[in-house]
Amino acid sequence: MNKKIKQPGMTLIVKTITRLTVGLILLYGIYIVTHGHISPGGGFAGGVIIALSFIHLMLAFGKDLALRKLSEKLAAFFESFGAIMFLTIGLLGFIGGYFFFNFIFKGKPFNLFSAGIIPLCNIAICFKVGAGLFAVFVALILLKVPIKKE
């Protein structure tokens, strides 16, 4: 019984499976983000999957381990950073004359390195959505309700 209390998180089976799958989930998320412009998916979907890999860790091993990998402060930083990166890409479009103008060399269609600013936008959205979703989850877990004396 004592052992259970010391170790937060779920049973050994869940932990073992999580250890095997969590890296794959993260990789799959990154794949979805980077291939957003040539296949279904993109920044939002990939960001959600990446956030889920961290949430998965949190569910299996408890909040401490997950927060050691990605603290709530870092999540908050990445959230704002993603938004600013997206906006900066939009503003850099002024080089080409328009807001959100696709000013980078566009390459050959269906190549990984193609489509100008769109993969960059996907990465920015991935930061914003991934960190945002993780931060929402953390906020719900760490929520402290101050008890008021009437």
């Binding site: 908050a76 600013i84 906006l87 939009g90 328009y98 807001f99 959100f100 696709n102």
Partner: protein
Amino acid sequence: MNLASLPVSHNLLPLFVAIPLGSAFLVSLLGKRVKGFSDTFSNVATFSLLSISLLSILLVKHSGTVVYKVGGWIPPIGICMVLDGLTSFMLVTINLIAFLVTIYSISYMERYTAKWKFYTLFLLMLAGMNGVIVTGDMFNLFVFLEIASISSYALVAFGVEREELEASFKYMVMGIMASLFILLGIAFLYSLTSTLNMADISRTLAKIGDNQTVFFVAALFLMGFGLKAALVPFHSWLPDAHPSAPAPISAMLSGVLIKALGVYALARIFLNVLGMTAVSSSILMVLGAISMVLGGLLALGQEDIKRLFAYSSISQIGYVVFAIGMGTPLGILAGLFHLFNHAIFKSLLFLNSGSIEYATGTRDLRKMGGLTSKMPVTGYSSLVGSMSISGIPPLSGFWSKLLIILAAIEAKHFIFASIAVLVSILTLAYYLKVQKLAFFGELKDSLKGIKEVPLTMKLSMIALSIICIFGGLLLIPGVQKNFLNLATEVLVNGTNYAQIIFGSIK
């Protein structure tokens, strides 16, 4: 200097969204770490927004309607932003209030922890409102509307007390209903016209002719935007939500949010996109008149100063919707002028109520009295605001109400005109009540120790009351031609909007 010849001039348009959005996230990134950053940076951001919105008036005057192609894609394929008279009019209104409110917040928001969170949400709300105004795309309008609404839900709950959370929840449920109606309306419109560009929708609808779907869409939009504007059958969230927010936010919500998301969107869609019919005109007029009367009557019995102002907002929005609903050029001019004036004096009054709360710690009118002797700036500026909103000459509210009544008489709506006059008297009654209970009479013993509010709060109240006093000058022919008339023209042109937009795409 000829402004229109500058190559950057038309690139001003996306800045209305980009500046507040960028500064919101910069404040959230650095506001906690660098002391004083959030105050300075937010004020710089809102000041630059005010300056470029004033520049936009010149731009409209020089080059007429400007259509900005986002990403270089030609509308209706890409998203476009539109700058015309109405846009620049609304932008000036919003950014003027936003600038004065951020100045006020420097001292006022010291009472709360995490000021930078406040500024982040505030700037996001501003980005949403500016976006709603500049966009020329229906779905884009919905997205910006949601940005502004969601940040306002959070801002209403900013104090995280029991009442505030309850008000915010109520506001959120009603707001989401409104958004759903609007989204459903957009979906129907898209299925009918296969386009989301507002000008293109208007053009396609003219080709299709009479269609039952359009009526249904109009009903959905009336419910959705009516909820956002707090017209009377849809008003019940406002008297809870607006008083619960911190005072600067109450000023923003009552002053500009209900106008940008509600009245502006309603006017733009009903007059420019769907086209005004006799039915929609009379519905808007009746809803406006009901709002006027009920808002006024309900305000009369309130003891909470901010709640009274909130009901008064419903009543005054009734005036604006009624006047725009008439659809005559004079009516639209009067409605827009009253919209501007109401933004000014209602923000002023909410800032006054914030100052009272700051100094005395109460919002209950019965616990106040004789405040003018201790707080002269708050007292006299609220006197100016109250008299202006009740329509005492020569303050700005008098001119806009006079124009509304004249427009109603000109359009032969005598009953509505007399309602407008009667409600104006009602308005005077409840504002005299505020003045008598709060500012005149004997100073209560418990209030002997209060002090006037800090300098920045005084500054913005003084600035707003000066605009109140000289607001009538906007009707001087030379000024009117360049500001109000340009805005009125856009709405008077009705569904010619489509031709104007497609004509000015270069």
